[in-house]
Structure formats: structure tokens, C-alpha cells
């Protein structure tokens, strides 16, 4: 019964979405207040319908209703409850429904939190979101229905993929999708503004919080995926430039560019066409990524549903959504005339450079990922594009971004003098140079330069804040009050930039990792990376739906003999799915990771792969800091104030420091 209701709810949502797509936009075009006012209600209705449907699917999984084909194929009675719930989105149909859920959530969010927007704009935004949602719900209904039944129901399901029975991967899809799908809001704003024929400073102000929220989620989602790859797959790395990984990175790159571009639209009413195009491109890349990873066109270890028939439908959907918006862009964009002019050396100029570099990196990653299938199609030859290509092309483009990141925030708007700006950052640059020089011999040129960049990225935002507080140039009390009165968004930006520096430091540290592979018998000790690793025991350990073979290792410091950690790498055999996974053991002290993976057992001993990874946790810690910086910016009251009317209500006389950002 519940699955039928869930199925019906999808159909209902599809109809509501269709109405949501047509009525508000028509109403905004004809200035019909009733139709405009209907938009929020329709968005909320769609959200409730899709929400119910999603809950129905979760419920089916929780009660192990094996008459639902999705549950029978991807779940089982023995699966722990948490993974029955998260397994809902661990397969194709469920993840598409999750897409639809978050899409409807975006519409609902605009309906609830977008009250400060002009009603016509809000109606158009909700309308565009409705159109996209309608397409996806139609796809769900016709080609990807999670509520298909199987009769008679099998006695037990085929089980959740053991790889997915892991907290990191279980929560990776919702967070990632909130990022992917969250950019649909920016997309909707772009299309709505093209329909209206107007992009002004207010548009920049309105788009930013939604873009920022989506960006935070996407940053966390990518970091979570990379972290999972590191601790679960056990190959010791964290990024392979795998096509599916690239598909998630592409919208992040243009989303970051959009975030910065929107600032210029807001402050100076320039870069309008750039920003609209970036908004359309970011969501288009999200959509294309969804299509590509499910189509079977990409060579990837991620086993998604590789069904070409579904691919055609998604391709058509993509064609309509992206093609339609780009057509609208080509026709209407000339209307968007910039109001502010600026010199090449200025804050705007730095942001333009930032845009160009980020989009170049995006182009490189996109071309590298799509080159093999296109060459095979056109010429019939197989070529291979792997990590060495991306490393040698993306990193040289990223270096200028990292250098300019520190400089941009201290340049002034419209026209800036480069030398005084550079002088303000002198101590950050000096510290970076000193670090590079000091570590050059010990760690090698590449690592030294990398660490120098990382330190620069952490210290230059601090230098900017110091500059704004006029530290040591005015009395300390005055500096302090200046700092306190700085808008939160300034801190958010500084923390965000510093977070990237922390991540880069982690990546550079990983290039210095040490490892070894040895056959170890119980009682034997291996020495590597400055530690002694002693295998204490090997034993069996049953789990809920697996049998584990666990090794216990005692790790001590090689020089002092002081105990450092006890580690338990394991291998799990899942009898139902006939799969074996490895449980890598990682012990971190924040500055380095101890990493052990179990291999085959032979002659009473076990093959162990042992790593010492310096600064590894900083990679993901830095991403978290970036997301926190974004969240801090989001909490800035100025971003939540929509219509200019409310600004006038602020009490007069409260001095706000000149918005130099």
C-alpha cells in the first residue's frame, strides 16, 4: 500500500511541478498577481509530495518489503538499520528520487526564505525550478521508478553493497546532491533574470547566499568522497582524477567562480554576462555529470547503472534544460549592459583573472575527461588520459590562482595601485619565502614551494584583516573595535581562503608519504617511517552480515620506544554478496596519519601495507574550514536582507566601517 502511495505521490508531484513551471512564469509575464502568488504554494506542494514519496521508499527499506524491486535488489533483512535507511539512495532509482527531493526542497526554500525577493522574480525563479523538477520527475516515473514491484517477493534481498555499508559513503550522496542540486537555484535566478531582461546589484546580492549554501555543501561532498576513497578503498591516495570525481569537481570550479563574480555584480554592477553564464554553466555541469556517470560512457570504477536507454532520456532532458537556457542567454544577454567600468589592476580585475583561471582549469578537466570517448567516436582510436595529464595541466593553472588569492582582497575597487597593495602583504610573502627556503633542502623543491604557497594562502587573509584593523597604526582599542565591527562576510572570506591553504598544505604533505609492504608473522616487528610496527595477533570476528579477520598491531616510536597506537586493520567477507572488503586502520594525531591495510594471509603471516602520511588529515580539515567560512558568511545579516526597503530601517547613527570589501 505504502509503495503505491509513494508511486502516486511522484505522479502528483510531477503534475504540480508542471503547473509550477507554467503558471508563475506566465503570471509574471502578464503581471497577474494571483498567478504570481500561487508560486510559493505550488513549490511547497511539490516538496510535500516528493517528500512523502521519499519517505515511502525509506519506509519500504526499513521494514524490508521485498515486494518492492528496489528493496529486493539493494537491501536485505540482515543489513543494519542505519544502512537500510541510507541504502535508499545507494542505487540508481533511489538516488534519482533523492535528486528530485532536493530539487523540490530548493523550490520550497525559495518559497519560505525568499520573501524578501520581489514577487515577480520569485515567481520566475520558482517557475524555472518547477520546470527542471518536472523533467526529473517525469524521468523517475517513466524510466527510473523505485516503486516497481516484484511478485512473488523473494525471501531475502540481495543485500546492500558492502562498500556502501560505511558512514562516510552512506552520507556522501545527500551532501553532494545538496551541492549539485543547490546550484539549480543560481541557475533559476540566472534564467529568471534573462526572462525579466534585467540584472542589477540586487540580483548579485540575492544570488549569493543560495550559491554560497550550495557551494558549502558541494565542498563538503567532494571532501567526503575523497576522504572515503582514502580510508576505505585502501590504495593510499585520495584523488585519482577518475571521471566521476572530475564530474563533481567541474561544478565546484565554476561555482567558486560564480561566487566571486556575483560579488562584482553586487558591488559594481559589472561582470553581469559572466555571472549569468557561470550560473547556467554550473548547473549544466551538475546535470551533465549526472548523465555521464549513469550513461556508461565513462571509464570509471564507480559502478552506477550503465544503461544506455536511460541515458537517452537524460540526454533529452539535458538538451531541453541546458539548450533552452543557453538559447535564452544568446538572445537576451546583450540586454545586460554593465554599468561600472574598471581598470585592469583593481579588485574587479583580480576577480576577472580569478574567473578566467578557474574556468581554464574547468576546461582542462572537462576536455581531459571527455577527450577519450570523443576521439573514439570520431577517429575510432582509443587514447587514455590519466592522472599525469591532469596533474601537469591543472596544477600550473592553479598556482596563479593561489598566488592571486592573497592579493585580490587588498586591492581596491575600480582602480588600484599594485605596489601599495603588495606592500601591505609583505610579511605574509616574507614568511612564505622563508619557509620555502628553509625546507628546500630537507624536503625537496616541489614540497618546499608547495608549503610556501600554502603558508601564503593562510597568512595573506590574516594580513588583510590586520590591514583593515590598522593594527599598530592606531591604538589597540581602536583596532579591536574595528575588527569587531567588520562584517561577518569578511571573516567568512578570510577563513575560506585560509581553509584552502590548509588543504594545499595537506596535499603537499602527502607527496612526502612513506610506505612499505611486508609479510609479517605474529610477534614480528617492522620499522618504517620512524615507527616500529609489531603484529600482535590475527583472529576472526563475526559481524552482523559479515565475518571479519582482524589483525592487531602495536605501534611504538622507533627511537624512544614510547607507545603510539594500537591498530586493527581487518578484512570483511560478506557471504550474501560474495564480496570482500578491507577495513583500513588509520590513527591520526592531526599532523600525520598512520595507515595500515591487510592483504592476503600466507604461511601463518599476513601481508601488511604500512603508510606514514604527513599532514594527510589537513586535506579534509581544510575543506571543512572552507565550508565553515562559507557558513559564517551565510550568517551575515546583510546577505539575508533582500529588498532594499529593510536596509533603510536600520537605526541611524550606528557607524559601520566603510565596506572596503
Amino acid at each position: 500500500m505504502i509503495p503505491e502511495l509513494g508511486h502516486f505521490a511522484i505522479a502528483l508531484a510531477c503534475v504540480i511541478a508542471a503547473a509550477q513551471a507554467v503558471l508563475p512564469i506566465w503570471g509574471a509575464h502578464r503581471h497577474d498577481a494571483r498567478l504570481i502568488a500561487a508560486a510559493p504554494a505550488l513549490a511547497l506542494g511539490q516538496f510535500m509530495a516528493v517528500g512523502f514519496s521519499f519517505l515511502a521508499l525509506v519506509w519500504s527499506g526499513v521494514v524490508s518489503d521485498f515486494s518492492v524491486m528496489n528493496v529486493a535488489e539493494y537491501s536485505s533483512a540482515l543489513t543494519p538499520l542505519i544502512y537500510k535507511i541510507t541504502g535508499t539512495w545507494g542505487n540508481h532509482e533511489g538516488s534519482i528520487l533523492l535528486w528530485c527531493l532536493i530539487l523540490s526542497l530548493c523550490g520550497a526554500a525559495i518559497a519560505v526564505f525568499g520573501r524578501g525577493l520581489p514577487s515577480a522574480l520569485r515567481a520566475r525563479v520558482i517557475g524555472v525550478l518547477g520546470a527542471v523538477a518536472c523533467g526529473f520527475l517525469l524521468f523517475t516515473l517513466t524510466a527510473s521508478n523505485p516503486f516497481n514491484r516484484v511478485w512473488p517477493p523473494p525471501p531475502d534481498g540481495q543485500g546492500v553493497n558492502p562498500l556502501l555499508q560505511d558512514p562516510g559513503l552512506a552520507f556522501h550522496p545527500p551532501i553532494l546532491y545538496c551541492g549539485y542540486v543547490g546550484f539549480s537555484i543560481a541557475f533559476a535566478f540566472a534564467v529568471a533574470s534573462l526572462l525579466e531582461g534585467r540584472v542589477d546589484a540586487a540580483w548579485g546580492r540575492w544570488v549569493r547566499p543560495w550559491t554560497l549554501a550550495a557551494w558549502c555543501f558541494l565542498t563538503c561532498g567532494i571532501a567526503l568522497g575523497s576522504w572515503w576513497s582514502y580510508y576505505e578503498l585502501g590504495w593510499g591516495g585520495y584523488w585519482f582524477w577518475d571521471p566521476v570525481e572530475n564530474a563533481s569537481l567541474l561544478p565546484w570550479l565554476t561555482g567558486t567562480a560564480l561566487l566571486h563574480s556575483a560579488i562584482v555584480v553586487e558591488k559594481r554592477e559589472a561582470l553581469k554576462i559572466w555571472s549569468v553564464l557561470l550560473a547556467i554553466t554550473t548547473f549544466s555541469l551538475s546535470l551533465s555529470g549526472t548523465f555521464l556517470v549513469r550513461s556508461g560512457l565513462l571509464n570509471s570504477v564507480h559502478a552506477f547503472a550503465n544503461d544506455p536507454t536511460r541515458g537517452i532520456f537524460i540526454l533529452a532532458l539535458l538538451g531541453i534544460v541546458i539548450g533552452g537556457s543557453l538559447l535564452l542567454f544568446a538572445i537576451r544577454a546583450p540586454v545586460l549592459v554593465p554599468a561600472g567600468i574598471f581598470a585592469p589592476i583593481s579588485r574587479e580585475g583580480a576577480l576577472v583573472l580569478n574567473n578566467i583561471l578557474l574556468c581554464s582549469i574547468m576546461a582542462v578537466v572537462l576536455v581531459g575527461t571527455m577527450y577519450p570517448p570523443f576521439v573514439q567516436l570520431i577517429v575510432g582510436q582509443q587514447i587514455s588520459v590519466g592522472p599525469p595529464f591532469f596533474d601537469s595541466t591543472a596544477i600550473p593553472l592553479a598556482a596563479p590562482v593561489m598566488a592571486a588569492m592573497g592579493l585580490g582582497p587588498v586591492l581596491s575597487w575600480k582602480r588600484a595601485a599594485l605596489a601599495p597593495a603588495l606592500i601591505r602583504l609583505w610579511w605574509a610573502a616574507l614568511a612564505a619565502f622563508v619557509l620555502t627556503a628553509v625546507t628546500f633542502h630537507g624536503l625537496g623543491g616541489v614540497a618546499a614551494v608547495g608549503f610556501g604557497f600554502a603558508l601564503w594562502m593562510v597568512l595573506s587573509p590574516a594580513a588583510e584583516l590586520v590591514e583593515r584593523s590598522r593594527l599598530f597604526r592606531v591604538p589597540l582599542r581602536a583596532s579591536w573595535s574595528r575588527l569587531r565591527l567588520l562584517p561577518r562576510a569578511s571573516y567568512g572570506a578570510a577563513i575560506g581562503h585560509a581553509g584552502l591553504g590548509v588543504s594545499v598544505a595537506g596535499m603537499v604533505g602527502m607527496t612526502l608519504a612513506v610506505h612499505t609492504i611486508q609479510l609479517v608473522h605474529p610477534g614480528e616487528t617492522v620499522t618504517t617511517g620512524g615507527f616500529d610496527w609489531t603484529l600482535v595477533s590475527l583472529r576472526d570476528q563475526p559481524g552482523p552480515d559479515y565475518v571479519a579477520r582482524v589483525a592487531t598491531l602495536r605501534v611504538t616510536d622507533a627511537r624512544s620506544g614510547a607507545p603510539v597506537a594500537v591498530m586493527h586493520p581487518a578484512r570483511r567477507a560478506f557471504p550474501l554478496q560474495q564480496q570482500t572488503t578491507t577495513d583500513v586502520s588509520i590513527k591520526t594525531n592531526g599532523l600525520r596519519d598512520l595507515y595500515v591495510a591487510m592483504g592476503d594471509e600466507r604461511d601463518g603471516g599476513v601481508v601488511l601495507r604500512i603508510h606514514v602520511n604527513p599532514l594527510a588529515p589537513w586535506i579534509w580539515f581544510g575543506a571543512l574550514i572552507m565550508a565553515l567560512g562559507g557558513a559564517l558568511s551565510l550568517s551575515d545579516r546583510r546577505l539575508r536582507i533582500g529588498a532594499p526597503i529593510r536596509l533603510a530601517r536600520r537605526a541611524a547613527g550606528v557607524s559601520v566601517p566603510a565596506a572596503a570589501e
Partner: protein
């Protein structure tokens, strides 16, 4: 109750059952297992030689899993190729010779780094092309704006002109 045909995820690939089997084998073995936690007896005693062999292995794609290097992959074929590489390193062959040996058997697809030739020129040129394109558009827009004559203030109306004169006189 409808008895729908089970939508097998890989239904479109009957011909590729073997690659499916290989992929599942990879997923089972390699994704779970640590990066090629291979037989330590296959590692070379001489660390310099071992480092060279690893560096070569890092440049070659595992053809079974297709998205790992043969150093990372736990597939049998990857292991065999690792052994061949180490044998040749010990025999004193150069990196180029060893990689050429592999390319002769498996084609350039086994290389993770695409070679630079007429076919891949566009690929390798992408960073430069993208950068030049972006800078070109940005500077082009900038110069166009500067070339367009700035509209001066609108001419004054009669009443405004009278008011201006009275203001200037006072």
C-alpha cells in the same frame, strides 16, 4: 501485481559480460584491498631499483580495472605486469625500453599520460587555449568599453540654464 522485468543495471551490455565480470572482480578485490597489497617477495631488494619499478608502474594503466595504475591494482594481470617490469629493471633495461615493451603489446591506451601527437595536440593545448581565450575576451571587452566614447552629460534645458546662471552669479 505487475511482474515487471527486472531492470538489470547492466542489461545493455550482454556482449560485455566479460568486462562486467572483470569489473566485479576488480571491485571485489581491488577496491576493498589496499593498493596492490601484493606479494612482498615480488618487491625488489634494491630500494633504488624498486623505486624505479614503481615509478614506471605508476605510469601504466591497469587494463582490467582501467581506472587504476598497475601499482594500485590488485588484479592478476597487473601483478604479472609488475613482475615483468621488475625483471626488466633488474636486467638493466631503461624506462623507455620497458614502457615501449608494454606499449608494443597493449597500445598507447596502457599509458596514463597521453603521448603528445597530432591527435592529442588539442588535448595538451587546452590550458593555453583556454587561458588565451579568456584573457582575449576580457581584454577585448575592456578595450571595447574604452573605445566607446563616454556619453557626456545631457545638454541643459532653457530653465536649467537660467538656474545655473543665477547660481553662478550668487
Amino acid at each position: 501485481m505487475r511482474n515487471n522485468q527486472r531492470a538489470r543495471p547492466f542489461a545493455g551490455h550482454r556482449k560485455n559480460l566479460r568486462s562486467l565480470g572483470l569489473l566485479l572482480l576488480c571491485l571485489m578485490v581491488s577496491i576493498g584491498t589496499a593498493r596492490a597489497v601484493s606479494d612482498p617477495t615480488e618487491l625488489l631488494a634494491n630500494p633504488a631499483q624498486e623505486a624505479r619499478a614503481e615509478a614506471i608502474g605508476q605510469q601504466l594503466r591497469c587494463l582490467v580495472c582501467q581506472n587504476e595504475s598497475i601499482e594500485d591494482s590488485s588484479a592478476d594481470l597487473a601483478r604479472d605486469i609488475r613482475t615483468i617490469i621488475r625483471q626488466q629493471v633488474v636486467a638493466g633495461r631503461s624506462n623507455q625500453q620497458i614502457i615501449g615493451y608494454m606499449v608494443q603489446r597493449y597500445g598507447t591506451f596502457i599509458l596514463l599520460k597521453p603521448p603528445f601527437n597530432g591527435l592529442t595536440a588539442l588535448l595538451w593545448g587546452t590550458p593555453v587555449i583556454a587561458l588565451l581565450l579568456g584573457l582575449g575576451i576580457a581584454f577585448g571587452a575592456h578595450w571595447q568599453r574604452r573605445r566607446r566614447p563616454q556619453p557626456g552629460p545631457a545638454p541643459l534645458s532653457e530653465a536649467e540654464r537660467v538656474r545655473l546662471e543665477s547660481l553662478l552669479r550668487s
